[in-house]
Symmetry: C2
Subunit: 370 residues, 2 copies
């Protein structure tokens, strides 16, 4: 068994962890380029805490607060230009996966002369150090080696992939997530769950990632009753904290195993149908597990067990309680998306790879019937 497990991100978690662990950020540089969105980091306290931590370290900073959801390649070049102009020597990304992924891409482009054509394929030798403060509990980008950008040429998402873009530090303070809306909470939780589940079904799964991923699924299961209630207001701090841990775990495992065809199939739902990324994975996950259960049932046993499910049906019922009314695709869309999914790199690490007709069936079962 060939294994290469590497997860150098230091993860600190707990209320006030940014200020309490400010000193850890000292080693990253003298001047931080803070990348965040225009609004939430200011409201949820994460920006204030970060500024206080930098100030305690006598580090200066430049604030770039123009990160948008689903950052594009163009956005990355734009942020990198400002980063270079600022003279900052490290990146502090605050926000959801979009802000963190944009921060990583800017950290890459600030010290590598790459074109959009070479950006996704050139092995990197140097990247500015990155710290991440997630304010959603989903992508796990604070612990991944991916920066995922919207690619209008391929009409999908493309990843910069390098161990050098794994953040040196991830600060998990659940207080920043207390006011997330219900849909965001559920969709990001589904994304995190999908990362752990997909990791277990990757050919790169190892006892290292397996243990972590099962822990991620168990945490999701513990949060399920609160999520099923249907209102954000009653999601307790303890549940918010668990969701944030599950998301980081999801990131740690996919950094080592990659995501599989569920993500590969989901990208078209997001790109063409504007279905939220996490929700797209949630919509497809049960149908893919159903497919696997017919090909190699032993593979999904530990997943079901960790989820407390007796069967794939149980597993799906749990997800259905969060997904509500499913979007519906036409047969033409299903055929088109299946062909597109047949081209994604995710297929190469998928332990039980579906063919094009299988993927049509998975789409049909998950979101067919328009």
């Amino acid at each position: 068994m060939k294994i290469n497990y590497y997860m150098p991100a230091q993860i600190v978690a707990g209320d006030n962890c940014v200020r309490d662990n400010a000193a850890l950020m000292r080693a990253l540089g003298d001047k931080a380029f803070i990348i965040t969105g225009s609004g939430s980091a200011k409201k949820n306290g994460s920006l204030d805490d970060s500024l206080a931590a930098l100030s305690a370290n006598k580090q200066s900073c430049t604030l770039f607060d123009k990160a948008l959801p689903n950052p594009s390649i163009e956005d990355a070049y734009g942020a990198a230009e400002e980063l270079k102009r600022s003279g900052c020597d490290f990146v502090l990304a605050i926000g959801g996966g979009s802000s963190i992924d944009l921060g990583k891409a800017a950290a890459v482009l600030a010290c590598n002369d790459l074109t959009p054509e070479t950006l996704f394929s050139t092995p990197l030798k140097k990247v500015l150090p990155i710290a991440a403060v997630p304010t959603t509990a989903g992508t796990g980008s604070e612990a991944t080696n991916y920066s995922i950008l919207t690619n209008t040429v391929t009409e999908s998402k493309s990843s910069i992939t390098s161990p050098l873009i794994i953040p040196r530090l991830g600060f998990l303070d659940a207080r920043y997530t207390y006011n997330l809306g219900y849909n965001t909470t559920v969709n990001t939780a589904l994304d995190a769950l999908s990362h752990s589940v997909e990791s277990l079904l990757s050919i790169k799964s190892s006892p290292f990632t397996e243990g972590l991923a099962l822990s991620g699924i168990r945490i999701f299961r513990e949060c399920l009753p609160a999520l099923q209630n249907g209102r954000s207001a009653i999601i307790e701090p303890a549940v918010r904290e668990k969701l944030l841990l599950a998301a980081a775990i999801g990131g740690m495992v996919i950094a080592n195993t990659g995501t599989i065809i569920v993500h590969g199939m989901g990208y078209s739902l997001t790109y063409f149908k504007h279905i939220d990324h996490g929700r797209a994975n949630g919509l497809l996950l049960g149908s893919y597990l159903d497919f696997v259960s017919k090909k190699d049932p032993a593979k999904i046993e530990p997943i079901l067990k960790a989820m407390g499910a007796q069967s794939v049906g149980d597993f799906e019922a749990a997800l259905n309680s969060l997904l509500g009314v499913r979007e519906k695709l036409s047969e033409d869309e299903i055929k088109d998306f299946a062909v597109r999914a047949g081209r994604v790199l995710h297929l190469k690490v998928t332990a039980v790879p579906p063919g094009i007709p299988d993927m049509e069936a998975i789409y049909r079962r998950a979101v067919g019937g328009a």
Copy 2:
């Protein structure tokens, strides 16, 4: 919940992983100080593979092959002197936990001016980079932040503890362990198991370490039938590989949680009674779990489940099948050792800490009756 999870060691595993991943070692420096014992690394192929990898990288080296079991503080200073004289800029430790721990201590002393009095308490700022090639499957030192040295002043073991001594690279090639004798195989496996179990019972346990630790216990369980057979010859390569993974996992988790009172109590068995370190933990583990089961039974449920045990009795029966005839202590020894264990730092992270009379009872149950 305050968590600080950090495990920067890159773990590569598989037959021939040292030569196949030689390039990873390039970043460590120009000249390797190889620390190993006098014999086994030459016989099991690990030294040859390491020399070939260095040569492929055009890195030079100095060979220090005088590492002994249970290295002392004096041994560490001796190795550090030779390391300094050699002008090497990184350490490549090959062998069991003793060689790796000695290598770490030398890497510390080569660039820190510390006395035996300050060695264990001074926060470190710089340590030479370390790579580790374990040739036993036990301590997990390839992934820990500990260098454990025999301390004749305290009549126990003392640890240099720093994230900077976590090896940058751990190479797990099970072929180096094929010819280990039965007792070494069992004792080191018991050590690895104890690391994962103790980690789960540390106050520092988190979902990150918990997932890994349960994976470590499950792997041990898979290896149990082969270990129970009682002969090294029939331990298959696939089992050897699993044991090596379980050991690395044990290291990864205790680097974050510490070991608990089981290790703290075991040190006297090793120091005064010359009982092998791993065996000492194996002797005490069941009795400690029995103690916990009476105080906080929920804490041991996941451990028993991962081990496939219905009860602590089942768990102990599994260990008994490996331990054979237990050593016996006198009542005076038990009383003395319990007092000594009452002073160990391990008590501070033990989630269910025993008092002195409890520890007497644990010793008595495990190794009483002389």
